[in-house]
């Protein structure tokens, strides 16, 4: 794999770093392919429980690399969309660790993640309209599902950036830490999640994501098979037993 995306797996946590600091981590073909491959590995490798997406050199990602695009490079991955992530996020949890800019496509990568931790210098936004484009990689589709519509509209129509503090106030991000601390904070959060039952974590994510499209009078029925699978799992029994015995559970993942 090229050096433009670095992947490190440690203690079941996969850290994916966009590594093009000379281009503010803009997404070219290599970055998109690299993230896409990492997301596939994340879901395929049973030893990996969770992914973290971050950017090198205190910048998350400034969006699509327009120069590369003009040269004919595609920042899209077949089946996975922009940056190898936006149209098809992984099944396992993914945390964005954001420092500096998360703009345009960079913003869309961040909000395609399940959780976002940001340094207090982070800035978020979809400035596409300023150059006559739209945020087509989920910026418009996801933002209005994640924050109040009126605010999502403001971001989309003005193209103005918001601060980490404002993003936190809106519930767009989970934690703010001092700048430079986002990756560490994401790892801390990741360890809390990886200590939990893997089946339960996977099912919880699945239900929260998929239930967006379920109808009110059918949603409990649709949740039922997932709930039953969890209730019948060895991990559910292990979790309850460990709780009663006041020890840490040993998960088997089935």
């Amino acid at each position: 794999m090229s050096d433009e995306v670095r992947v490190i797996i440690n203690d079941g946590i996969m850290t994916v770093t966009i590594n093009r600091p000379e281009a503010k981590n803009a997404v070219n073909a290599a970055v998109a392919q690299g993230i896409g491959a990492a997301m596939e590995e994340l879901d395929r490798n049973p030893d990996v429980r969770l992914g973290i997406l971050t950017g090198a050199n205190n910048v998350f990602c400034s969006g699509m690399d327009l120069k590369a695009y003009a040269r004919g490079e595609s920042p899209f991955v077949e089946g996975r969309g922009f940056g190898g992530l936006c149209s098809l996020p992984p099944k396992k949890p993914l945390i964005a660790a954001v420092e500096g800019f998360a703009l345009a496509g960079g913003f869309e990568l961040a909000i395609a993640c399940d959780l976002i931790v940001a340094g207090d210098n982070a800035r978020f936004g979809t400035p596409e309209v300023k150059v006559g484009l739209i945020a087509g990689a989920g910026g418009l589709l996801r933002t209005s599902r994640q924050i109040p519509q009126r605010v999502a509209m403001e971001l989309a129509l003005t193209g103005e950036m918001i601060s980490a503090a404002r993003a936190y106030e809106l519930g767009l991000i989970n934690r703010i830490v001092n700048s430079g601390g986002a990756l560490n904070a994401a790892l801390t959060l990741a360890r809390v999640i990886t200590a939990n039952g893997p089946l339960a974590v996977a099912a919880s994510k699945k239900i929260i994501c998929e239930s967006q499209d379920w109808l009110s009078d059918e949603m409990f029925a649709q949740q039922e098979p997932l709930l039953r699978a969890i209730a019948n799992s060895k991990d559910a029994i292990e979790g309850a037993t460990a709780f009663a015995e006041k020890r840490r559970p040993t998960w088997v993942g089935c």
């Binding site: 934690r175 830490v177 001092n178 601390g181 560490n184 904070a185 790892l187 801390t188 959060l189 809390v192």
Partner: protein, 234 residues
Amino acid sequence: MQSLVRYELRDDVATLWMDDGKANVMSVAMLAALNEALDRAEKQAKVVVLYGREGSFSGGFDLSVFKRGGPEVLTMLEAGMRLCARLVEYPLPVIAACTGHAVALGAFLLLSCDLRIGVNAGARFHINEVRNGMTLPHLTLEICRERLAPAQLHTATTLGLPFTPASALAAGFVDELVPAYAMQESVLRYCADLLTVDTKSFAINKRRVNAKVIQAMAVAIEEDIAEWKALANI
């Protein structure tokens, strides 16, 4: 019995884990253990972290000592006040990891530290003396005046109102709130930062900044001791 304060020295950071298995009450034994640990840290470390136990930073003085009465009451009261003063005068930076409730002396000890990180849920900050028919020692008020915002100083002390983590942040009980799971990460981050500070100039600056309150505390503790002795003789 297990030690009430576990002392850990790593990479020039001394961490003092207070844990009495309950509310972390400031008994004579706990206060002595803290002083002992501070003595060690002063010789060995560059940064000190004062850590509570899960759910409780400290519940304040050991009320059973008040109930029993006798000379131990005065010993405990004086040791509690002197520990607050010691933290304010202490030459090293002291970070408080406020893992839960900080009540009465627990709150004063917290306020005496240089940097205070609190959990964002499951903590109550309460200067509850007036609610228990007790008088606030003069020394504690000097610390409150130094560290709490003026409006909240009044509601916290005179009215004895409890504070939530969010209102405690606004009042100045804590400098930052974090989820409980992130306390250690946050503490480590501040330690790494404070380790880069020159120890000598830190000590001089801290003493300069705190000069007035240190002086006021020295006067206050004499008043307090005189008051307690007068009360004990009645």
